[in-house]
C-alpha cells in the first residue's frame, strides 16, 4: 500500500508509531499531486516543500487540504475568484488554528466554485476540477476540489464548506464522506462568508471514522464567531462501531418523486434494506414543504450573498481596476473581478432586498423557511434519522448544465433544506451507476446530533464497504 492511500486514521497510527514517517507521507502525497493533479485540477495551490506540523496532538504530522475560502495565514486565499487574486490573509481561520494546534499542517488549497456559487466547480476562475472517477464529469460543487482530492488519493482528508449542499453533493459525486455539521457547531471565523445564516465548515474524508476524528478537532464554541453555539462536544469517535438496533429511520415520501434518477432511487432503497437487516426500523415521515426549499434558498442565500460581497470593492485587498475616480474604481473592480454566476447572485440578491420587493420575496422566503424548519422538527420527532438521496442524479458532464442556472440549482434539491433548517447531514457512498459513477446517501439528524449520524453511517459503511472501491487515475 502506498502512503497516499492511507485513511486519516491509518496515517495517525503510522506516525504515532514512527514519527519519522511524517516526511515520507508528505513526499508520497506531494509526488502524487504533482503527477496527477494536472489531470484532476483539485488544487489551486499546494506546497510540496512544507516544513510540516508545529503543534503536537491528535493529528500530529497529518496533512490536511482546505477549500480555498478558508483563510490561511501567509497563503493566498481567493475563493476561486479573480477579485481576491493576491489576497494573502494575515491570520488563520479558527478551524485552521485548531488543526495546527492538534499537530496537523495545511497541505494545500482546493478548487471550488467562485465564492461557493455553484454545484459543479465550473464557476472557478481557475477553470473546472474533474471527477476522479471519470475526468469528463464534474466533481460536484462547490467544494468540488476538496472532494476530488480526497477521492483521488490526492489528500488524506479535506475541509469544505456547505451553504446549500456544497460539502455533501460533491462528496456524493466523488464517492467520499461529507458532513455538514449543525449550524453553529463549527466556528466560521475566517470562512469567507457566502450565506451567513446557512454556511458551515465540515470534513470531507475517505471514511466515516475519519470524519468523526476531524470533528473532534473542529467542533466547539469560539468567541470570535458570535453564531457559534456553546454546546458541549462529545467524543465523536465513540459513536463509531456501534450497532443501529432500534434506530428509527424516517423515509420522507416527498423524496421519491419525479426528477429522481432511477439508479439513484434503486441504490438508496437498497440502503434502506441494509439498515433494516442491521436491526433499524423504518417509518414514513413527511416534509411537505420540501418542494419549496430551492425557491426559498435562491431568495435567502442570494440576499445574504449580495450583502456579504459588498465588501469587495478593490480598496483594501485583492484585485483593483485602477480608475481616475473612486466610483468608477468600485464599479470596474466588481465588473472585472466577479464571474458570471457571482454577478447573477449579487443582482438577484440586490433585487429581492430592494425597496418594493422586500416583502414579496425576502420576507416571504423567511416565512417559508420557518415552515421547512417545522417540517424537520416534526419528522425528527418520529425518526432518529431521515434517509434519502444526496443528489437527484449521479455526476453530470462538464459543460452540461452551465447554460441553465435553474437546472444547476435543482441538483441541490435534497441538500438545501438541511441548511435552511440548520440540522446536521452527512453524505456517504451507497453504490455506483451503470457508468461506474458514485451515488451518495444522505442521512439527517436533529441539531447537535452528529453522533447519531456517525453511528448510523459507520454501521452502514462497515456493512457495505463501498469506500474500498477507488477510481483508477
Amino acid at each position: 500500500m502506498e502512503l497516499f492511500e492511507l485513511t486519516l486514521k491509518q496515517a495517525k497510527e503510522l506516525i504515532s508509531k514512527n514519527p519519522s514517517k511524517e516526511s515520507e507521507l508528505r513526499n508520497s502525497l506531494a509526488d502524487r499531486v504533482k503527477t496527477l493533479d494536472p489531470k484532476v485540477k483539485a488544487y489551486v495551490n499546494f506546497a510540496s516543500s512544507q516544513k510540516g506540523s508545529e503543534g503536537k496532538g491528535a493529528l500530529s504530522g497529518i496533512p490536511i487540504s482546505l477549500k480555498d475560502n478558508i483563510v490561511t495565514d501567509g497563503w493566498e486565499t481567493t475563493c476561486a475568484s479573480k477579485i481576491l487574486k493576491g489576497f494573502v490573509p494575515p491570520y488563520d481561520a479558527t478551524v485552521v488554528r485548531k488543526l495546527k494546534q492538534s499537530g496537523a499542517y495545511i497541505f494545500g488549497k482546493c478548487n471550488m466554485d467562485e465564492f461557493a456559487f455553484g454545484s459543479s466547480c465550473e464557476t472557478s476562475c481557475y477553470g473546472p476540477s474533474h471527477n476522479p472517477w471519470n475526468l469528463d464529469y464534474v466533481p460536484g460543487g462547490s467544494s468540488g476540489g476538496s472532494a476530488a482530492a480526497v477521492a483521488g488519493n490526492l489528500a488524506i482528508a479535506a475541509l469544505g464548506s456547505d451553504t446549500g449542499g456544497s460539502i455533501r453533493q460533491p462528496a456524493s459525486f466523488c464517492g467520499v464522506v461529507g458532513l455538514k455539521p449543525t449550524y453553529g457547531r463549527v466556528s466560521r471565523y475566517g470562512l469567507i462568508a457566502f450565506g451567513s445564516s446557512l454556511d458551515q465548515i465540515g470534513p470531507i474524508t475517505k471514511t466515516v471514522e475519519d470524519s468523526a476524528i476531524l470533528m473532534n478537532v473542529l467542533a466547539g464554541h469560539d468567541e470570535r464567531d458570535s453564531t457559534s453555539a456553546d454546546v458541549p462536544v462529545p467524543d465523536y469517535t465513540s459513536f463509531i462501531g456501534k450497532d443501529v438496533k432500534g434506530l428509527k429511520i424516517g423515509l420522507p415520501k416527498e423524496y421519491f418523486v419525479k426528477g429522481l434518477d432511477p439508479e439513484v432511487e434503486k441504490a438508496v432503497r437498497q440502503s434502506v434494506q441494509v439498515f433494516q437487516d442491521l436491526g433499524a426500523t423504518v417509518v414514513e415521515v413527511s416534509l411537505p414543504h420540501m418542494k419549496y426549499a430551492v425557491a426559498v434558498y435562491y431568495i435567502v442565500a442570494v440576499a445574504e450573498a449580495s450583502s456579504n460581497l459588498g465588501r469587495f470593492d478593490g480598496v483594501e485587498y485583492g484585485f483593483r481596476a485602477e480608475s481616475s475616480n473612486l466610483k468608477d474604481m468600485y464599479f470596474e473592480t466588481r465588473d472585472q473581478g466577479f464571474g458570471a454566476e457571482a454577478k447573477r447572485r449579487i443582482l438577484l440578491g440586490t433585487f429581492v432586498l430592494s425597496a418594493g420587493y422586500y416583502d414579496a420575496y425576502y420576507l416571504k422566503g423567511l416565512k417559508v423557511r420557518t415552515l421547512i424548519k417545522q417540517d424537520f422538527d416534526e419528522a425528527l420527532k418520529k425518526a432518529d434519522i431521515i434517509l434519502g438521496p444526496t443528489a437527484p442524479t449521479p455526476p453530470f458532464k462538464i459543460g452540461e448544465k452551465m447554460n441553465d442556472p435553474l437546472s444547476m440549482y435543482l441538483s441541490d434539491i435534497y441538500t438545501i433544506s438541511a441548511n435552511l433548517a440548520g440540522v446536521p447531514a452527512i453524505s456517504i457512498p451507497c453504490g455506483f451507476s451503470s457508468k461506474n459513477l458514485p451515488i451518495g446517501l444522505q442521512l439527517t439528524a436533529k441539531p447537535f446530533e452528529e453522533g447519531t449520524l456517525f453511528r448510523a453511517a459507520s454501521a452502514y459503511e462497515t456493512a457495505t464497504k463501498w469506500y474500498e472501491k477507488k477510481p483508477k487515475l
Binding site: Y298, K343, L348, K364, K367, G422
Partner: protein
C-alpha cells in the same frame, strides 16, 4: 406573472458595471429564476413568523479588551495601493 427586472437599476445598486451583452443575458436569467421562485405564492404565510436565523441566539457580548497586534502592517502589506499607513484610493473630493 413574474416581475420584469430593471437590470440597470439593480446593477447600479449592486455597484456593477455590466457590459451591454451581459445585461440582456442576466436579465433573462433573473426573470426565469424569479418565475421559479413565484411558486412560493401558493403558500399562505400571513400568520407564519419569519426565520432569519435557526439558532436561538440574541445579543452575544464579550469584554472589549485591548490586545497587542502587528495586524496593521500585515494588512497593509497586500493592499492594492498604499501610502505610509493608509490605503490609497483615487481622489474623492472634486476640485481638491
Amino acid at each position: 406573472m413574474s416581475e420584469k427586472i430593471n437590470i440597470e437599476q439593480i446593477a447600479e445598486l449592486a455597484r456593477l458595471n455590466l457590459k451591454p451583452a451581459e445585461r440582456e443575458k442576466l436579465a433573462k436569467d433573473l426573470e426565469s429564476i424569479l418565475a421559479y421562485v413565484d411558486q412560493l405564492k401558493e403558500l399562505k404565510t400571513d400568520s407564519v413568523p419569519p426565520t432569519s436565523h435557526v439558532l436561538p441566539l440574541e445579543n452575544v457580548f464579550r469584554k472589549d479588551e485591548v490586545k497587542k497586534t502587528d495586524i496593521r502592517d500585515r494588512v497593509l502589506e497586500h493592499a492594492p495601493k498604499r501610502e505610509s499607513n493608509f490605503f490609497k484610493v483615487p481622489k474623492i473630493i472634486e476640485g481638491a
